[in-house]
Symmetry: C2
Subunit: 333 residues, 2 copies
C-alpha cells in the first residue's frame, strides 16, 4: 500500500509509492519502452490495460474493452495511489502518515500511436478535455477525495514512460500545496481589492500584449510575468470561472483549440520539446469561488532543476517571457 | 542586467537571467564541454576565469591567479545575478520587479580535474567547507544581501555544465521561499513546544535508527521521513546551531567527513548518480535562532520532475527512506 507522509517542518506531503519501483538501485531506469504493435494503448491491445472506466466513440453494439474507441480512460497499471481503503491518518512519533488512498487514471487521447496531442484535430483535443471533465464529475462522488489533478507528461525528459499520446489524473485525499498557495494568494488579493487576481492578470496582459501568444473568443494564451522555466505558458478563460469541470462543452472546444495551437507552436519553435501541462482548478469540496480562477500551465522541460532551484524555490530562467511570447506568436502554424 | 520578478499570485520570485542564454531556441542546449587541458578550472588556466576572490594553499610568494592553489573561489563567468547596482524595486502594473543584484561565485574544490568530491580526502572537503564559511563572512558585509545559498550540481542531469569538481554560491537580496517556509514551520513548532523541531528529529532518528545512514561525534546522516526524491539524505549537526558559518573549523572537519562518506556511499550504491546538495542556514540579518537549525540536503537526480510534481508540489517517491537508508548503510566504503 502506498503511503502519504507529511514533512514535519514545512508540512509538505510526499507519496511513498513502493509499487512503482523494483529495487532501490533501479530507480530512474525507464521501463522497457513498448515496441511496434505491442503498445498497450493501441487498438486490439485493450486487454493489456486495466478495464476502462470511460470511453468515447465506440459503437454501442461493440464490446467494452475492445477496439473502436476514440478516447479511453483506464486505471494506471502502476498507480501512485490505491483506490481501496480508509485514510488511516495517524502519528509516527513526531511524524504524520496516512494510507496512499486515491485514484490514478490514464487518459489515452487517441488510438493512433503516431500522433501526439499537438497533431490531433481541435475536435479530438476537445474530446480529451470532455473526458477530463467526465472523470472529475464521476470521481467527486467519492467523498475521500479533495482534489483531482489532471496533467500530461510528454517526452522522456518530462517524465513520460510511454510514447503513445496520453494524459493522467490523480485524485488526492488532500489539496496539494501548490494549489492551496494559489488559492490563498488569490484570496488575499480579493480581500484587498474585491477583484479576482487572475481576471486582473487577463486585463493587464490583453492591454500590454507583450506577453500574449494568442487569444480566441473565450481563452487567452500568454507567458506569465514570472515564469519558472523558459517558455512556461498559461491558458486561461477570459471570463471568470473557478472550476474546470463547470465549463460547458462549447467552451471546452475553444480551450482545446487554444491548447492545441500552443503545443503545436512550441513543437515547431523549440523542436518538439518534452513538456508537461497541468490543470489548476478549485478543490472538489469548495463552493464556486469569486477569487480563484482555473487555468492550464504548460511547461516545456528545457532546463534541469538544479541545486539552486531545489534549495531556494527560486527559479533561474534565461528567457524573458516577452521574448518567449514573441517567439511563439511568430510561429507559422 | 538580470531581473528579479515576483509572481503576483503566490509571491514566488524568479530570476530572469538573460545573460545566460543566447537565443530562445538554444535554451537547454549545453555549452560545449571543455576538452582535455583546456578546462578553466585546471592549473595554468587561471586566466580563463574571472579573478579569484578567495584562495587557499598557494605559497605566499607565488603570484595571485596562478597555479599552486588547493581551493579557489572566483565569480561565475555566466552569473545569474550581477554584483553591481541598486535594488530598484518597483511595480510594473499589477506586477513587481527589482534589479537582479547579487553575487554568484564558483568554488573550485580541487585543481585535480579527475577527482570528484566523493574522492577527495576528508581534509580536502574540510577546506572546501572552510571556503564556504569564509565567503559567507565576507559577503555578509554587503548590506544588500539577505541570504547566501551554497549548493553543488554534480553531473549533467543535476544541472552541472562543467565536469571539474566545483560548487557554487549565490547571494540574494531576498530570503528564498524554501528557507522562509522551513524557518516559519520551525518557529511554529517552537511556539508550541519550546523545542527546536530539527533537534526533535535528531532525537527521534537516533532512537529509531531505521532511517540512519551514519553518524560521527557531531553529525548525523539520515534519510528524512518524507523525502521528495529517492535517496534524499540530510546531514545535520547533532548540537543545536542555526548558522553554518558559526561552526568552528573542527566541527566543519567532522561535517566534511560525514558529507564525503555520504557522497561516496551514493556513488557506490547507485552507480555515480548525478546529484545536488544545498546548505540551508539562518538568513544573514537574523539573530542566532533557537528554533532554526542549519543542515545539508543531498538529492540524487534519479527521477524527472514531471507534471504531477510541478502542478501539485507533491512528490512521488518510489523508494521508502527506510530502504534507502539501509541500502546506503550497508555500502562497503
Amino acid at each position: 500500500m502506498p503511503e502519504l507522509r507529511r514533512d514535519p517542518i514545512v508540512g509538505r506531503w510526499v507519496i511513498i509509492a513502493t509499487e512503482r519501483a523494483r529495487r532501490p538501485q533501479d530507480v530512474g531506469r525507464l521501463r522497457e519502452p513498448p515496441r511496434g504493435g505491442l503498445c498497450p494503448f493501441d487498438y486490439a491491445q485493450e486487454d493489456k490495460t486495466p478495464r476502462e472506466v470511460y470511453v468515447t466513440g465506440r459503437a454501442p453494439s461493440a464490446p467494452a474493452n475492445g477496439p473502436g474507441w476514440k478516447v479511453r480512460v483506464v486505471p494506471n497499471r502502476y498507480p501512485a495511489l490505491m483506490i481501496e481503503g480508509e485514510l488511516g491518518r495517524e502519528p509516527a512519533g513526531i511524524y504524520d502518515r496516512m494510507n496512499g488512498v486515491g485514484a490514478h487514471e490514464v487518459v489515452i487521447e487517441t488510438p493512433d500511436h503516431t500522433r501526439d496531442m499537438a497533431h490531433l484535430t481541435d475536435g479530438e483535443v476537445a474530446e480529451v478535455l470532455c473526458a477530463f471533465k467526465a472523470r472529475i464529475l464521476d470521481l467527486r462522488n467519492d467523498m475521500r477525495f479533495r482534489y483531482i489533478l489532471l496533467f500530461k507528461n510528454h517526452g522522456q525528459a518530462a517524465g513520460a514512460t510511454l510514447e503513445h499520446s496520453h494524459s493522467q489524473l490523480i485524485a488526492l485525499p488532500v489539496t496539494p500545496r501548490q494549489v492551496a498557495e494559489e488559492i490563498e494568494g488569490a484570496r488575499r488579493h480579493y480581500e484587498h481589492r474585491e477583484r479576482c487576481i487572475f481576471c486582473d492578470i487577463v486585463l493587464q496582459e490583453r492591454k500590454d500584449r507583450s506577453r500574449l501568444v494568442l487569444e480566441n473568443d473565450d481563452f487567452l494564451v500568454f507567458a506569465p510575468w514570472a515564469p519558472r522555466s523558459p517558455f512556461e505558458t498559461w491558458i486561461i478563460p477570459k471570463r471568470h470561472e473557478s472550476s474546470f469541470e463547470a465549463e460547458p462543452r462549447e467552451r471546452l472546444g475553444l480551450c482545446a483549440a487554444a491548447l492545441r495551437s500552443t503545443l503545436l507552436r512550441m513543437g515547431v519553435a523549440l523542436g518538439d520539446p518534452a513538456y508537461n501541462f497541468i490543470i489548476h482548478t478549485n478543490p472538489l469540496r469548495d463552493p464556486p469561488s469569486l477569487s480563484y480562477h482555473w487555468h492550464i500551465e504548460v511547461m516545456p522541460a528545457l532546463t534541469h532543476v538544479a541545486g539552486f532551484e531545489w534549495g531556494s524555490g527560486f527559479h533561474i530562467n534565461p528567457v524573458p517571457p516577452e521574448e518567449a511570447a514573441e517567439f511563439l506568436r511568430l510561429v507559422a502554424t
